[in-house]
């Protein structure tokens, strides 16, 4: 099992553990009168599995959308490896090394599983139509390489047998895996997963957990939104808790789970 080759870091010093991979500082986002994110700051370090939890509507997906360039933010800045990625377009953020999956699965339904992953390769390949028409050796090599890597990724997430089925015909759990494979194909440094275990049965959850741990072991950094508290607590090195668009806690699972503000947010004030 070879890791998807991460793009080389821009300079050697960034590999020192102290430099955060992702820095979110003072990010705010409002939709009309609704303050969806208020002054959010957090740092994700290389090699971590960083959890983002909070009640429904706390702003987790909004933060994901802001990170990946879907929403422009009103205040603050977002840096990946020290480089600003706020204000960039989604495909530029992806090129910088941040890929994501979606809470409600958003595959290219009318394309095969393999083609979905190949679209993920788009960002890391360059060949144009002319090369394809003339069947230039460089283009053919690149295409063959893309296919090989994509097959390997399908195998890695455990759905190689579905390579030539349309994405929409895959079982639900496998669609979630396909989303991960597609995101991995973009060779991210940071993979953001929006509720990857949603709707999965216990066996699928266990397999997903294994997969995420393997990805971490291969050097990938993960940012995880998840509702399954058991999964989050067992998997994440650190957590941030959002409630009503405000970060109310951050720390290791142990610390966060004992934080009275977190307990209040999840269970309601009366339990205090």
């Amino acid at each position: 099992m070879s890791a998807p080759k991460a793009a080389p870091s821009p300079s050697g010093k960034l590999d020192a553990g102290s430099t955060p991979l992702l820095t979110v500082s003072g990010v705010s986002k409002a939709f009309g009168g609704l303050q969806a994110l208020s002054d959010i700051s957090l740092q994700v370090h290389t090699g971590e599995i960083f959890g983002l939890i909070g009640p429904n509507g706390a702003g987790k997906t909004t933060l994901f959308n802001a990170l990946t360039g879907l929403y422009s933010i009103n205040h603050g800045e977002i840096r990946l490896y020290g480089r600003r990625i706020d204000g960039r377009k989604p495909h530029q953020v992806l090129h910088a090394g941040l890929a994501r999956t979606f809470q409600n699965i958003r595959l290219f339904a009318e394309m095969t599983a393999l083609e979905n992953v190949l679209v993920g390769r788009h960002a890391r390949t360059t060949s144009g139509v002319v090369g394809a028409v003339l069947r230039l050796p460089g283009t053919r090599r690149e295409e063959a390489d893309s296919r090989e890597r994509s097959h390997a990724l399908l195998k890695r997430v455990g759905i190689a047998q579905h390579a030539h089925r349309l994405a929409k015909n895959l079982p639900y759990g496998d669609q979630r895996r396909l989303e991960i494979a597609r995101a991995l194909a973009t060779e991210p440094r940071l993979l953001a997963l929006d509720e990857p275990a949603a709707g999965m049965n216990p066996a699928e959850r266990a397999a997903l957990r294994e997969l995420l741990l393997q990805l971490q072991a291969d050097g990938l950094t993960l940012l995880l939104i998840e509702h399954d508290v058991k999964l989050v607590m067992g998997l994440c090195t650190r957590l941030a808790v959002l409630d009503y668009g405000v970060k109310i806690a951050e720390g290791t699972p142990d610390v966060v789970s004992r934080d009275p503000k977190v307990i209040a947010a999840y269970l309601g004030d009366e339990t205090l």
């Binding site: 992806l94 090129h95 979606f102 290219f108 060949s127 028409v133 893309s146």
Partner: protein
């Protein structure tokens, strides 16, 4: 049966030209859900530019082989049309990407009027004859005749369509186009530069239109600043007939429409006892359009004409 075979040949030739133009409509619609009504005028521009080049070359070097002269016309017309298509997308459609759908549609009609008038200013109002440079060979086939020009149109159109299918199915750009057609947002989140894909779509559609424009003017032997209007409407009807947004549908719709027109024009005199003649040829495309919109709005092969929420 010779008239049947003759109409079949004429219909296929005409239909393959319609198919090329219909592909431009359908590709843009598939990605932007925009009906690019200026597409017919791009076809016209292709014909006009090619004819100017061909006319000038035929005068300057009368000895040159006709095929070479025609090729020179195409070599100039294609980049001009591609540039025009890119310019229109950039200036007229992209600023309206997030506007209500009616706005770009009306803009498209505006662009087509502008192009017609620009063409009229450059080339005048008269019909421009296609110089007699092409081989005038004519072959007889079971009582029907087929000209060299017709054979060339059929072969070239078929080759182009096969290449297009291969491109869309097998190449990196083709995959990006299909991904963008399914979801612009997700495609961009997966690293596809959506603006580039849209520009590429316009470029390819315009190149096809240029070729089709040259084919039409070579086939009918003339070009005119207004020729894009009817041709565009018919190709649009063909795209709707096949299922707009569907490449195979545009090809099928184009061929069917060509056949319907050809057979309609061939038999309408007999059917109405001579009351209506073949000059009613143009009516059939619009009968087809109305019938499709009433009975099968998604077209023959279309499934994804559902309005998105």
């Amino acid at each position: 049966m010779d008239i049947f075979l003759q109409q079949l040949i004429n219909g296929l030739v005409l239909g393959s030209v319609y198919a090329l133009v219909a592909l431009g409509y359908t590709m843009v619609y598939g990605i932007l859900e925009l009906i690019n009504f200026a597409h017919g005028e791009i076809t016209m521009m292709g014909a006009m530019v090619a004819l100017s080049v061909i006319g000038a070359l035929a005068l300057a070097a009368p000895g040159l082989p006709g095929v070479l002269v025609l090729g020179a016309g195409l070599v100039v017309a294609i980049p001009v049309c591609v540039a025009l298509g890119l310019l229109i997308e950039r200036v007229a459609y992209r600023p309206l990407r997030h506007a209500p759908r009616l706005a770009p549609l009306i803009t498209a009609i505006g662009v087509s009027i502008i192009l017609q008038n620009v063409a009229m200013l450059i080339w005048g109002k008269q019909y421009i004859p296609f110089p007699a440079i092409l081989p005038q060979g004519r072959h007889t086939l079971y009582g029907a005749s087929i000209t060299d020009v017709q054979i060339a149109i059929l072969l070239l159109a078929t080759a182009i369509m096969l290449l297009l299918i291969l491109m869309v199915q097998k190449t990196r750009l083709g995959r990006a186009m299909r991904a963008t057609a399914q979801s612009r947002q997700v495609a961009s989140l997966m690293g596809v530069d959506v603006n580039r894909v849209i520009a590429a779509t316009f470029a390819i559609g315009s190149a096809l239109a240029a070729v089709a424009g040259v084919m039409v003017s070579a086939y009918y032997g003339l070009a005119h600043y207004y020729m894009g209007f009817l041709l565009g409407l018919k190709a649009f009807s063909a795209a709707v007939l096949g299922g707009i947004g569907n490449l195979g549908g545009a090809m099928l719709g184009g061929l069917l429409l060509g056949l319907i027109e050809s057979f309609g024009a061939g038999y309408i005199g007999d059917l109405t006892g001579g009351f209506l003649g073949s000059n009613y040829q143009d009516v059939f495309a619009f009968f087809v359009l109305i019938a499709v919109l009433v009975f099968r709005p998604s077209g023959l092969l279309g499934a994804r004409v559902v309005e998105r929420a």
